[in-house]
């Protein structure tokens, strides 16, 4: 703590544009205090897993345990909702004028966005871990490397939705942004084969689904269990992340230039 002299001799600019662990810690704690966020990223995926997964406990899907398959799918869903809401938080903070308040501090806009990104990824990680823990407790059995790889894939690939959240957050300055985005995520999840395997759809729909943003994440996250890892899936994730990231960056530039 510095002493309270009215005129410090040297006034410095903070390192890393103000990015620091204290702020990050407080930010994550604050987000986890929000009941609505917790319901969306922790309760919903878990409840879906229990509702859809447990009745199919002894069934087989794509040649593997249906329970494990559904658990991974729900982890992907939780991660995408978590990262999206983390990124979309910029909408809330813009609408409340908090971003304007932060403009009066040394925090650089880029550092602010990075903090949002990290927070989003932490939410995504928590969502994946919770679904996996519930899965383990309710009888999912997989080799250790499948647990680790699918969790890692579900989490890391959800970066595409952190970028999507930021994009939406800079697009719509609304306190209730997740009310519009939530249903959209559910529709995307259907096309990504998260709620039902894609082969229940017609061939045309299956082809279209390959171009939607959840498809790649779903395929990659399930591949440690069922295989089917394809270059198409990787390209899907990379391209969508780049698109949303680019869009978010454009809007972010416009936003910082205007204020």
């Amino acid at each position: 703590m510095t002493s309270s002299t009215a005129q410090p001799q040297t006034r410095q600019v903070p390192p890393l544009g103000g990015l620091n662990l204290t702020a990050l810690r407080l930010e994550i704690r604050r987000v986890l205090r929000n009941r609505r966020t917790l319901v969306f990223i922790l309760i919903f995926p878990t409840v879906f897993f229990v509702l859809f997964g447990l009745p199919a406990k002894h069934e087989v899907l794509a040649g593997h345990s249906a329970l494990a398959y559904i658990m991974i799918s729900m982890a992907v869903y939780g991660a995408m909702v978590g990262t999206t809401s983390g990124g979309a938080a910029v909408a809330v903070e813009r609408s409340l004028g908090w971003s304007r308040q932060l403009r009066l501090t040394p925090l650089r806009p880029v550092a602010y966005v990075l903090m949002k990104l990290v927070t989003a990824m932490v939410l995504g990680l928590i969502a994946v871990v919770v679904v996996f823990v519930v899965g383990a407790l309710t009888g999912v059995r997989m080799p250790l490397h499948v647990w680790l790889l699918s969790a890692l894939a579900a989490w890391l690939c959800s970066l595409v939705f952190a970028a999507f959240g930021l994009f939406v957050g800079f697009l719509l300055p609304s306190e209730n942004v997740m009310q519009y985005v939530g249903p959209l995520l559910a529709i995307l999840a259907v096309f990504g084969g998260v709620f039902v395997p894609l082969d229940v759809f017609s061939h045309t729909l299956q082809d279209i689904a390959k171009f939607t943003p959840v498809y790649g994440v779903g395929v990659i996250a399930r591949s440690p269990l069922v295989g089917g890892f394809t270059a198409t899936a990787v390209a899907n994730v990379v391209i969508w992340t780049a698109l949303f990231g680019f869009g978010a960056m454009r809007l972010f530039r416009r936003d910082t230039a205007r204020v």
Binding site: M1, T2, S4, T5, A6, Q7, P8, Q9, R11, Q12, V13, P14, P15, G18, N20, T22, A23, L26, E27, R29, R30, R33, N34, E93, L96, G97, W98, S99, R100, Q101, L102, R103, L104, T105, P106, L107, V259
Partner: protein
């Protein structure tokens, strides 16, 4: 390090337009370190727009802004300037203490959270959620936030808007106590009494331009011109209006009403140069005079006369 000559605020030829509206018009203002300046004017006079430019929240269309010799962005990055804005965003699900801890962590050097809590008089609500705080408490939190970097210049944009009389008094006593260390304070207000009570210097702004600038005493004298009333059939309105310090001349039948800063001069003229009788001099209400000075149809001549004083 500050040199003695370094100005806290140095605005030159500042202009900001919003479409066809010129919100700030060629405004030049110098504030020295340690001054407490009231930026006084009616709503829409350009006060907030000027403060936004001072903070780098808005870019001027013309002119330059320097805060302690730096651009606003540099001054903010070093914590040299901070502000309490009219409506600043606060996050409802942070507590008061967390909001301060978070903000403190963004500075290279910050005062302790406990210290600013105390200075702003909100130590007792440190654990309260921001969403549960009253408007006055949130405003005190904004003040505490502004104190974190121990700024050399503190800007306050109508900081007591919406507060009751008691809240205003407490808020200003906290500011006063804190400013004793030589902090420069500039605040926008449309309350004349607030400017009178807390500022050393008043800058009157109207339609984006400075119309008067002086010590509170000077401004009060200026604003508290008098009204000279007399019976004078066939008065020469133009001749009276041309007298020094005359703001307006009205004729109501045989009665002439002259508003003037120099009421003695007008009275002397009326009694010695004309047939005027029943002469009467009355003081003008301070608030009314302020409105006259800053209203849109106030004569430009006043602006010119007072503007040249400083």
């Amino acid at each position: 390090m500050a040199t003695d000559q370094e100005l806290a605020v140095d605005l030159r030829g500042l202009t900001k337009r919003f479409g066809p509206v010129t919100a700030v018009n060629d405004l030049t203002l110098a504030v020295e370190s340690g001054e407490i300046v009231a930026f006084l004017g009616p709503n829409g006079a350009g006060k907030t727009t000027t403060i936004d430019m001072l903070l780098g929240l808005s870019r001027p269309d013309a002119g330059t802004v320097r805060v302690y010799g730096k651009t606003p962005a540099e001054a903010i990055a070093r914590g040299e300037v901070s502000a309490v804005m009219q409506t600043g965003g606060l996050l409802k699900d942070f507590t008061v203490g967390e909001t301060l801890q978070y903000t403190a962590s963004l500075y290279a050097h910050a005062r302790s959270v406990a210290e600013v809590l105390e200075r702003a008089g909100i130590t007792d609500i440190a654990d309260r959620r921001v969403g549960k705080c009253s408007g006055g408490q949130q405003q005190r939190l904004r003040f505490a936030l502004a104190l974190l970097s121990d700024p050399r210049l503190l800007l306050l944009d109508e900081p007591t808007a919406g507060m009751d009389v008691e809240g205003r008094r407490e808020f200003w006593s906290a500011i006063r106590k804190d400013a004793e260390h030589g902090r420069t304070v500039m605040f926008a207000t449309h309350y004349l009494d607030e400017a009178d009570a807390y500022a050393d210097r008043i800058v009157l702004i109207r339609q984006g331009s400075i119309v008067a600038d002086g010590t509170t005493g000077e401004i009060k004298a200026l604003a508290s011109g008098r009204v000279v009333r007399a019976t004078l059939p066939g008065a020469d309105q133009a001749a009276l209006a041309a007298l020094p310090g005359v703001e307006s001349v009205e004729l109501h039948g045989d009665t002439v009403v002259v508003r003037a800063a120099d009421s003695d001069g007008v009275a002397r003229h009326l009694l010695t140069q004309t047939e005027a009788r029943d002469l009467e001099i009355t003081s003008r209400n301070l608030e009314e005079a302020f409105i006259a000075l800053t209203s849109d149809d106030a004569p430009e001549t006043i602006a010119a006369a007072t503007g040249s004083e400083r």
